[in-house]
Symmetry: C2
Subunit: 119 residues, 2 copies
């Protein structure tokens, strides 16, 4: 059986942003990953869009954890995108806010991100 394909976005819980701003950052990660996958990982991209483009948003403690996850995704060959806020509003410019990973097989992503709770 083919595993479900999903995208996971990890958001830092140690930065103070309103829910609209969080949503915009997560959307930035999702769009960046989707456009990369469309070019460089057509197989997962197609399965993901065909199956309703599932997304899961998790929360991590801090930027160190974001980099740990990025490293795991890179090692596994999973497309990922680190998002930095332009900082025009609520936080300093250049603040890393979240990391998008995938689309990729759900069980492989769970090996990388499964220990973290939903946002």
């Amino acid at each position: 059986m083919v595993s479900e394909v999903k995208m996971v976005i990890a958001f830092r819980k140690d930065i103070d942003l309103g829910k609209g701003k969080i949503a915009a950052q997560v959307a930035h990660a999702a769009v960046s990953c989707a456009l990369q996958a469309e070019k460089h990982d057509k197989k997962h991209f197609k399965e993901w869009t065909k199956s309703g483009q599932k997304k899961v948003v998790i929360r991590v403690n801090d930027i160190e954890t974001i980099y740990v996850l990025k490293n795991r995704a890179d090692q596994a060959g999973i497309i990922n995108s680190l998002i930095t806020d332009a900082g025009l509003t609520q936080i300093p410019p250049g603040t890393v806010t979240c990391l998008g990973m995938g689309p990729y097989e759900s069980d492989k992503l769970d090996e990388i991100t499964g220990e973290f709770p939903l946002l």
Copy 2:
């Protein structure tokens, strides 16, 4: 001078969702609009990605307002995407949650959505 290009996502404030779930719905709208624009409105898509893919998330009262905005966007020839939750978790299946519009010129989008506050 060329107007800035942005995307606007309108989210219903009358449905009860956690911030991670809101973010996933908004991301769904953003990805759908981006992929449509990439195919059918290359000019705005290119300007938007080149300029940092700006996104603004606003809140509207109810589903009627979502449909009013969709109608305005359709009339103006602006790509838009209505998002329906799969309803597997917090709300009933098939609930319309948000509407993505654009990417398009900021001033034109403001004519359609400028009266609404940020989420």
